[in-house]
């Protein structure tokens, strides 16, 4: 009997094709596990067992007639930011409570076209704004991992925290996420998973609730690097419905997994050594460097002097774009409406009631930096700094093929432990991940080890625009050397 909770996506797809088990069995297991875990982990906004069984039965028909597609019968969890036709989509916000899209996001359509099975929407920080998944309207999501000898509930990271929590708990064989400042890679690092975002535009944003359009990257969370390549392959596509989508062909990402990394030049940027970073992360980073050296890579010390400005630039650009994107939630055409005395009063009451505190804070920052008299000083300045950050990377990539950094400056922290901290302290979680969003280049987090309390830590690989293949090759080399096989002890069901 196959243990369905430890299967990789690749093995699940292969097992289905070999008829070791059926899509129906896999879907039944997945839905049952999801329902059993939901009370303790709170990682789903919705579980749709009926739809899952319907899709699984259709997959079984195809599989039995030998017409199974690449992901035929494989359950994939969808972050609640992707529109799935006929399924409530809230972006974990009260303002979208009850919203049921009448259209399908391009990414989810691509997955169904490849045979994947829908079974649930995963929770997230409200409108993808957060690094701990504590701002969801449905409450904090819990990390399946706990520190040794402790039962303190930890955050799974954010904003794709529901996807990360579910997958780390052995539910689903892959999950979609979106990454605007680190929202795939940081939760992946906190939960011992592989998380990647491709080059900006590889995965269409059509049907994905917009946060900061020039920084939003859909991407996959998975248990292995190979799974990640496979899932990204089937999420990505040129899309006439998204004018910023990349029109070139999607390469065979999985073919890059396992390819020799001998002779590749790996950059180690000195600026990613930050004050207050735990020694264990520093050690893991050195370890990663040695692993790649042993695999035949050449290690090159590099400098990315603009690194420290990426996060402040992000906290101008992202709120500015968010304040524009979220202007649409006015209670008129969709979403929650709170009736007021007149039109303006209705807008104001609807938005005050519908948006949570962090979302309101970011809308207000964005409104301020775009307001008359401040646009040049803040927004235009940030866009210029953004180019300087890209130029840093461009200069580095003349010397190296990939860059290796830690993914996060710490392991997962306790739910509520940063409640009294300033917003900036929470923002600093994304200090190592946000640079790749600013530059729009591929980046991946690979689980590389455990800290002394037994919590997962990740290493990040960053590559040139449109060179996801090198990212997958280097990521796989790290995965091989790290041999990360730890799993959280099952306490949640």
């Amino acid at each position: 009997m196959t243990d369905f909770s430890t299967l990789s996506l690749a093995d699940a797809a292969a097992g289905l094709k070999k008829k070791d088990f059926t899509a129906t069995e896999l879907a039944e297991f997945t839905v049952r596990e999801a329902e059993a875990a939901q009370g303790a982990l709170n990682c789903f906004t919705l579980i749709d067992g009926e739809r899952a069984m319907r899709m699984a039965r259709a997959s079984d028909e195809r599989l039995s007639s030998g017409n199974g597609r690449a992901l035929e019968g494989v359950p994939i969890a969808m972050k609640d930011l992707f529109a799935v036709e006929g399924v409530e989509m809230t972006a974990s916000s009260n303002i979208l409570k009850g919203f049921t899209p009448t259209y399908e996001s391009t990414v989810s359509q691509n997955l169904w076209d490849a045979g994947a099975v829908f079974f649930a929407k995963t929770s997230m920080d409200e409108f993808a704004m957060g690094s701990s998944n504590e701002t969801a309207a449905s409450g904090a999501v819990v990390n399946p991992w706990r520190a040794k000898g402790s039962d303190e509930r930890l955050v799974p990271g954010g904003s794709s925290g529901g996807s990360a929590s579910a997958l780390a708990a052995g539910i689903s064989y892959g999950a979609t996420g979106t990454d605007t400042g680190g929202s795939i890679r940081q939760p992946a690092a906190f939960t011992g998973l592989v998380g990647a975002k491709p080059t900006y535009g590889r995965c269409s944003r059509w049907g994905v609730v917009a946060f900061a359009s020039s920084l939003d990257h859909p991407g996959p969370l998975t248990r292995t690097v190979r799974d990640n390549a496979i899932l990204m392959q089937h999420m990505a596509s040129p899309d006439p419905k998204d004018s910023t989508s990349y029109t070139g062909e999607v390469p065979d990402f999985a073919a890059a997994v396992g390819k020799s990394v001998k002779g590749l030049k790996i950059g180690i940027p000195s600026e990613y050594r930050v004050e207050g970073m735990p020694g264990e992360i520093e050690t893991l980073w050195s370890q990663g460097r040695e692993w790649l050296e042993a695999a035949g890579c050449e290690i090159v010390d590099i400098s990315l002097p603009m690194t420290k400005y990426a996060l402040p630039a992000y906290y101008i650009i992202a709120p500015a774009e968010a304040s524009s994107n979220l202007a649409r939630y006015d209670g008129m055409r969709y979403g929650q409406r709170v009736e007021g005395e007149d039109l303006i009063d209705t807008y104001e009451k609807s938005r005050a009631a519908g948006f949570g505190k962090e979302v309101q804070r970011r809308i207000m920052i964005g409104t301020y930096v775009l307001s008359a008299g401040y646009y040049d000083a803040y927004y235009l300045k940030a866009l210029k700094v953004r180019r300087r950050i890209l130029e840093d990377f461009n200069a580095a990539f003349e010397k190296v093929d990939a860059i290796l950094t830690p993914t996060t400056p710490s392991a997962a922290f306790g739910i509520g432990s940063k409640a009294k901290a300033s917003p900036i302290e929470m923002y600093l979680n994304d200090i190592f991940t946000v640079t790749a969003n600013i530059a729009g280049i591929p980046a991946m987090s690979v689980p590389a080890g455990l800290d002394k309390s037994g919590l997962p830590l990740g290493l990040q690989v960053i590559t040139r625009a449109l060179d996801e293949e090198t990212m997958f090759s280097v990521g796989a080399a790290l995965e091989d050397s790290a041999g990360f096989s730890a799993r959280p002890e099952k306490w949640w069901a």
Partner: protein, 95 residues
């Protein structure tokens, strides 16, 4: 640059968010914290640097000038808080 409590009320108004009366003081502090922190961008020399608006520069694609959508009134109204006879019902906005 820093903001006062009056500025925060004005920003809330611009953002069409009902004045968060009980949180004005706290919000002012938080917004100032963030604005102080982003001040460090002032250290960066951006003389002659073009603003970056797109991560990967590709030509904006064109499509044939043809109608590809429409006749989906019911879909569009499906999530409306209020609708009647094919229209959104909204508070009176023209006197």
């Amino acid at each position: 640059m820093s903001v006062t409590q009056d500025d925060v009320r004005r920003i809330a108004r611009l953002a069409r968010i009902a004045e968060p009366t009980d949180r004005i003081e706290q919000l002012t502090g938080e917004l100032n914290g963030i604005l102080d922190w982003v001040e460090q961008l002032g250290e960066v020399d951006v003389e002659g640097v073009e603003p970056m608006t797109t991560a990967v520069s590709t030509p904006l694609p064109l499509r044939p000038d043809a109608v590809t959508d429409g006749e989906i009134t019911q879909d569009i109204l499906k999530n409306a808080p209020r609708s009647e006879e094919g229209f959104f019902v909204v508070p009176k906005s023209v006197e």
